[in-house]
C-alpha cells in the first residue's frame, strides 16, 4: 500500500482501484495455466488436482491471510461439499454445474453454523475448536457407513457430461478445463472481495482487532460473512474433487487435509492472492515426485520444508520474492 503524500487528499476508492487493476504478470500467470495442454498432456489429472488444491488454499487465505484467523480444520467445508456433491450425483442428479453450486452452498451453510461458534473464541481455544470440529466431522463420516461408505470411501458416483457435451474423459482433459474455469471464476470473486471496502475491513481486523470496532466496523458480522465466503469456496474445491475423480475418500475430512492446505498457503505466502496458488503448485508437484519413493518419507520432506519456510521465509515464497524485488528497487 502506498503512503499518500501530504496535501493530496486520501481517496480510498483510488487506492482500491489501483489494487484491482490487472498487472502483466498476472495475465502471464493465467495464460501459463493453459500450457499443460501442450507441454504435459499426460499430467492433466495432476494439473486438475493442483487447481483444486489452489482453490482450497485460496479459500483458506481469506481466513488466515486476510482476516488473521487460524484454522486447523478447514477440511470440514471441503469434505462436506465433497460428500454432498457425491451424494447428489448418487441420488440421481449427475449434472455437474448445479451439483457444484448446491454442494458449495451446503458447505457455506456449514460455514455459517461454525462461525456462530468461532466468533466467540480466540487464540489457543480457537485453534483447538477448529481442530475439534474437523475431528468430529471425520468421526461422523466414519460412523455413517451406510451413507458415506466410511473407510471405503464414497463409490459409484456417476457424473453426466457438462452441458450434455463434454464427457469426463480418462486423460482428465475435461476435468482440467472444468476445474481451471472454476478456479479462475472463484479467483476473480475472491480478488474482488479482498479489494473491496469489506476486504479492507478484514485486513484492519487482522492488524488491530481492538481498534476496528472502535472505528465502527462490526467485527462479528464481518467474521460471519468471511466464514461463509471462505467455506463456500472451500466447498467448490471439495465438490470439484468429488466430481472429477468420481470418488470421495474419508481423507477429505481429515486433519492431514487441513494441515496440508495450511502448508501450501504458508509456503506460497499467506495474505497474497497468489500465495495459495503458487504454494499448491509447488506442494503437489513436490509430493508427486517425492511420494513415489515412499509416502512415509514424503512426510519428512514436508516437515523440513515447513520448518525452513517458517524460520527463513516468514511470509512465504512470494513474500521473500517481494522483499527481494523491493530491495533491488531501492538499490537502483
Amino acid at each position: 500500500m502506498t503512503m499518500q503524500t501530504a496535501g493530496a487528499a486520501f481517496n480510498p476508492q483510488q487506492v482500491l482501484r489501483a489494487q484491482v487493476r490487472w498487472r502483466l504478470i498476472e495475465t502471464i500467470f493465467w495464460a501459463a495455466t493453459l500450457l499443460p495442454f501442450v507441454l504435459t498432456p499426460n499430467y492433466l489429472v495432476l494439473c486438475s488436482q493442483i487447481a483444486i488444491a489452489a482453490l482450497f488454499a485460496l479459500s483458506l487465505d481469506l481466513l488466515v491471510g486476510y482476516s488473521g484467523i487460524v484454522s486447523l480444520g478447514h477440511a470440514v467445508y471441503y469434505g462436506v461439499a465433497a460428500y454432498s456433491a457425491g451424494l447428489i450425483a448418487k441420488a440421481g442428479w449427475g449434472e455437474p454445474l448445479t451439483g457444484l453450486i448446491m454442494a458449495s452452498l451446503i458447505a457455506a451453510a456449514v460455514g455459517f453454523l461454525a462461525s456462530l461458534i468461532m466468533v466467540r473464541i480466540t487464540h489457543f481455544a480457537l485453534i483447538m475448536v477448529t481442530l475439534g470440529l474437523c475431528l468430529l466431522m471425520y468421526e461422523v463420516a466414519n460412523q455413517l457407513h451406510d451413507i458415506t461408505g466410511g473407510d471405503d470411501g464414497l463409490q459409484g458416483i456417476r457424473m453426466w457430461p457438462i452441458f450434455d457435451m463434454f464427457r469426463f474423459d480418462l486423460y482428465g482433459r475435461t476435468a482440467y478445463v472444468y476445474t481451471l474455469i472454476a478456479l479462475f471464476i472463484s479467483f476473480l470473486a475472491v480478488r474482488r472481495v479482498v479489494n473491496s471496502p469489506f476486504g479492507l475491513s478484514l485486513r484492519g481486523m487482522r492488524e488491530n482487532a481492538r481498534r476496528m470496532p472502535a472505528i465502527g466496523a462490526p467485527m462479528r458480522a464481518r467474521l460471519h460473512v468471511v466464514y461463509v465466503i471462505s467455506a463456500f469456496f472451500a466447498g467448490v474445491a471439495g465438490a470439484l474433487s468429488a466430481q472429477t475423480t468420481q470418488f470421495v475418500a474419508l481423507d477429505a475430512l481429515s486433519f492431514q487435509r487441513s494441515a496440508e492446505v495450511l502448508v501450501m498457503l504458508v509456503l506460497g505466502g499467506a495474505g497474497r492472492l497468489y500465495g495459495g496458488l503458487i504454494g499448491a503448485i509447488i506442494f503437489i508437484v513436490a509430493r508427486d515426485q517425492l511420494a513415489d519413493m515412499n509416502p512415509q518419507y514424503w512426510y519428512f520432506w514436508l516437515g523440513l520444508l515447513l520448518v525452513v519456510v517458517i524460520i527463513f521465509l516468514p511470509n512465504g515464497i512470494l513474500g521473500g520474492l517481494a522483499r527481494l524485488v523491493s530491495r533491488k528497487g531501492r538499490l537502483s
Binding site: 485453534i127 483447538m128 470440529l133 468421526e139 519428512f300 516437515g303 515447513l306 520448518v307 524460520i311
Partner: protein, 287 residues
C-alpha cells in the same frame, strides 16, 4: 454389572493418569510462553522409543529405562527449543503451530525410517502384569502402577511449584512474564528448564504408554489430540486442572468405547468442543 463398572472406572483412571503425565508439561509451558507446541507428542515418542531400544537391545529392565526416557526427551527438547522455538516466541499462533507440525511430520518419518511402521512389542516384568482380584473386583496391576506413579508425580510437582524457589519463579513467569522479566528473572532460562522438565515428563509418559497405548510412528499425532484436550480444557498452567481433566478424559473415553463403541471418539470431541465454547480459557483457568 457393578464389577464391570468398577473395573472400567479403574481402567479409565489409569488411562487418565497416563494422559496426565503425558500432557502436564505442555500445560505449564503453554501457559508460560504462550507457545503453541504441537510437537509435545513427538517428545513423548522419543521417550517411548528410547525405552524400547534399551529393553530390546541392551537388555535393561523396564523400570531402569524410565529415567533414561525422561532424560532423553528432556535433552532432545532443549536442543529443539534452543535451535528453533526460541526464534518464534513473538511469532503468531499460526507460525508456531506450523513449525511444530513440521517437527511432528519429521519425527514421524524418522521413527518410521529407524524403527519401521509396526507397533513395538513390549514385555513388561512379571510383577507388573496380570490382574489383582479383591472380592468381586479385579484391577489391572499395571493400571495400579500408573495411578501410583501419577500420584507421586503430581505431589512432587505441586510441592515443587508451591514451595521451591524455582517453583516460585515459574509461577511468576506464568502470571506475568513482563513483570518477572522486569524484576530481573532470566525468563528464557527458566522457560528452557521448565520446557525440558515438561518434555521429560512427556518422555516418561511415552515410555509408560508403550504397553497400554502401543507405540508406532503415528504416536506423535494420535495422542496429541488427547494431550491438547487435557491442556485446553484443564486451563493453561493449571496442574490441578490438568489432573482432573485427564482423569475425566480417561474415564469418559474408556466408558464410551465400552458402552457405545459405535459412536467412537465422537463423544470425546463433542465434549471438548462444548467445554471450549462454554469456557474458552478452560474450566480451571487461572486467568
Amino acid at each position: 454389572m457393578l464389577a464391570t463398572f468398577v473395573s472400567l472406572l479403574f481402567d479409565g483412571l489409569g488411562y487418565g493418569m497416563l494422559l496426565f503425565v503425558l500432557s502436564v508439561g505442555l500445560s505449564v509451558t503453554l501457559g508460560m510462553m504462550n507457545f503453541v507446541n504441537l510437537a509435545h507428542g513427538a517428545f513423548a515418542m522419543v521417550g517411548g522409543y528410547v525405552a524400547i531400544t534399551l529393553m530390546h537391545h541392551a537388555g535393561w529392565p523396564f523400570l531402569a529405562t524410565l529415567p533414561i526416557a525422561f532424560l532423553a526427551a528432556a535433552a532432545a527438547s532443549v536442543v529443539v527449543e534452543r535451535v528453533l522455538y526460541r526464534r518464534l516466541y513473538r511469532a503468531s499462533d499460526l507460525d508456531q503451530s506450523l513449525l511444530t507440525i513440521g517437527i511432528v511430520f519429521m519425527s514421524i518419518a524418522i521413527a518410521a525410517y529407524v524403527f519401521g511402521t509396526n507397533q513395538q512389542p513390549v514385555q513388561l516384568p512379571d510383577w507388573l502384569r496380570g490382574r489383582e482380584v479383591i472380592g468381586d473386583f479385579s484391577f489391572g496391576v499395571y493400571r495400579l502402577f500408573l495411578i501410583g506413579a501419577a500420584l507421586i508425580i503430581t505431589v512432587l510437582m505441586v510441592l515443587g511449584l508451591d514451595y521451591t524457589r524455582f517453583g516460585a519463579q515459574v509461577r511468576a513467569c506464568v502470571d506475568n512474564q513482563r513483570m518477572a522479566r522486569g524484576l530481573g528473572l532470566n525468563v528464557d532460562n527458566i522457560f528452557t528448564l521448565t520446557f525440558a522438565l515438561g518434555s521429560g515428563l512427556a518422555g516418561l509418559g511415552g515410555a509408560l504408554a508403550i504397553e497400554p497405548m502401543g507405540l508406532d510412528p503415528n504416536f506423535a499425532f494420535k495422542y496429541l489430540v488427547y494431550m491438547l484436550i487435557v491442556v485446553a480444557v484443564g486451563g493453561l498452567a493449571s496442574i490441578r486442572g490438568a489432573f482432573v481433566t485427564a482423569a475425566l478424559l480417561g474415564v469418559i473415553d474408556i466408558f464410551s468405547k465400552y458402552y457405545i463403541p459405535q459412536v467412537g471418539s465422537f463423544v470425546l470431541y463433542l465434549v471438548m468442543v462444548g467445554l471450549l465454547v462454554w469456557r474458552p480459557a478452560g474450566i480451571f483457568a487461572r486467568r
